[in-house]
């Protein structure tokens, strides 16, 4: 666990408090709302993976019209996400610093592969289904979110029980 994070006090369900989570969540929603109100676009983060592959791959699926015509702004959206996080982490945060994870590389790589497969097969991720789909009260999204949440909790607890930290 990085020293920058407040130590966990397990007697409370919210050992780091609630405020940063709530403010962060409202900002995530605000970012999506700005794009939606201005353009009508409901932005998700995972379509970027496939639409960007169309720049370098001939595979039919990546070169569908809706990916090719949206790939430009999806790159800009992702650059915005990177910039916004950098703005907080390196400038505005109470302790501006470069932060790196202690989670082991093989967990990041293997988890990343599964996230890449699962979000594209399942038509969305934590932002598309989790934020925008739930905000739309879409049954498809509610089922997807309940499914990935249950399996994520099960997996994380199993990995922890096997003694892998972090």
């Amino acid at each position: 666990m990085a020293p920058l994070l407040a130590p966990l006090v397990l007697e409370t369900p919210f050992p780091r408090g609630i405020l940063p989570y709530l403010v962060g969540g409202l900002l995530v929603g605000l970012g999506a709302a700005v794009i939606y109100l201005a353009t009508g676009i409901i932005a998700g983060a995972s379509t970027f993976l496939e639409s960007t592959l169309s720049y370098v791959s001939d595979v039919d699926r990546f070169n569908r019209f809706k990916y090719v015509q949206s790939r430009g702004w999806r790159v800009v959206f992702t650059l915005g996400i990177v910039s916004g996080a950098a703005l907080w982490g390196l400038v505005l945060a109470p302790d501006p610093t470069i932060w790196t994870t202690d989670v082991q590389w093989w967990r990041l790589l293997a988890g990343g592969v599964l996230v890449g497969v699962g979000t594209r097969l399942g038509k969305g991720c934590t932002s598309g289904h989790g934020v925008c789909g739930v905000g739309s009260l879409s049954n498809t999204s509610l089922v997807n979110v309940a499914t990935f949440m249950a399996f994520a909790i099960g997996t994380a607890q199993l990995v922890q029980a096997l003694g892998v930290t972090p």
Binding site: L8, L10, P13, F14, P20, Y21, L22, G24, G25, L27, V28, G29, G31, A32, I35, L37, T39, G40, I41, A45, F48, L49, L53, F62, Q69, G72, W73, V76, F77, G80, I81, S83, G84, A85, L87, W88, G89, T100, L108, A110, G111, G112, L114, V115, G116, V117, T119, G122, K123, C125, T126, G135, S136, S138, S141, T147, F151, A156, Q157, V159
Partner: protein, 149 residues
């Protein structure tokens, strides 16, 4: 929405929206896989407020725009909700995504944000996500399964 109907403000607004989105992911801690894993291991339930807070804002925005607003100013697109067709892949994909999220603590948006806070080891996860997205696209193109997005 074609390029001809797009305002010159289109890309700048997408960038600013992404910037606020990424700022929120960093403020909330979701850019740190450790914080996500603490949630999934029931050590810190704060993440409920991230998804909940964000979904309330988008929910109110979608409800107001679809009822009371006409067309989006920068694209002339109609306002719609995010309602995707349900099929088996929604569940299968959710299971695979869930296992990956639980293993790594990383989802697409939070991975981009994590790179923004200087977390270069996250490139393992971003590289993995591209590999996974490529693999499913390659296989589905071979088998002609073009359902879903």
């Amino acid at each position: 929405m074609s390029d001809e109907t797009r305002s010159p403000w289109f890309l700048p607004v997408i960038y600013v929206g992404g910037l606020i989105f990424g700022l929120g992911l960093a403020v909330s801690g979701m850019a740190r896989p450790e914080v996500v894993l603490d949630f999934l291991q029931f050590d810190d339930f704060g993440l409920v407020f991230v998804m909940g807070g964000a979904a309330v804002v988008t929910g109110i925005t979608f409800a107001v725009a679809t009822r009371y607003l006409d067309r989006a100013p920068l694209t002339a697109s109609e306002y719609t909700r995010r309602v995707k067709e349900f099929d088996r892949n929604v569940v299968v994909g959710g299971v695979i995504f869930g296992v990956g999220w639980g293993l790594s603590g990383i989802c697409p948006g939070s991975a981009y944000a994590s790179f923004g806070v200087g977390n270069y080891p996250i490139l393992w996860a971003i590289g993995g996500m591209f590999l996974g997205a490529y693999a499913q696209g390659y296989v589905r193109s071979l088998t002609g399964s073009e359902e879903g997005t």
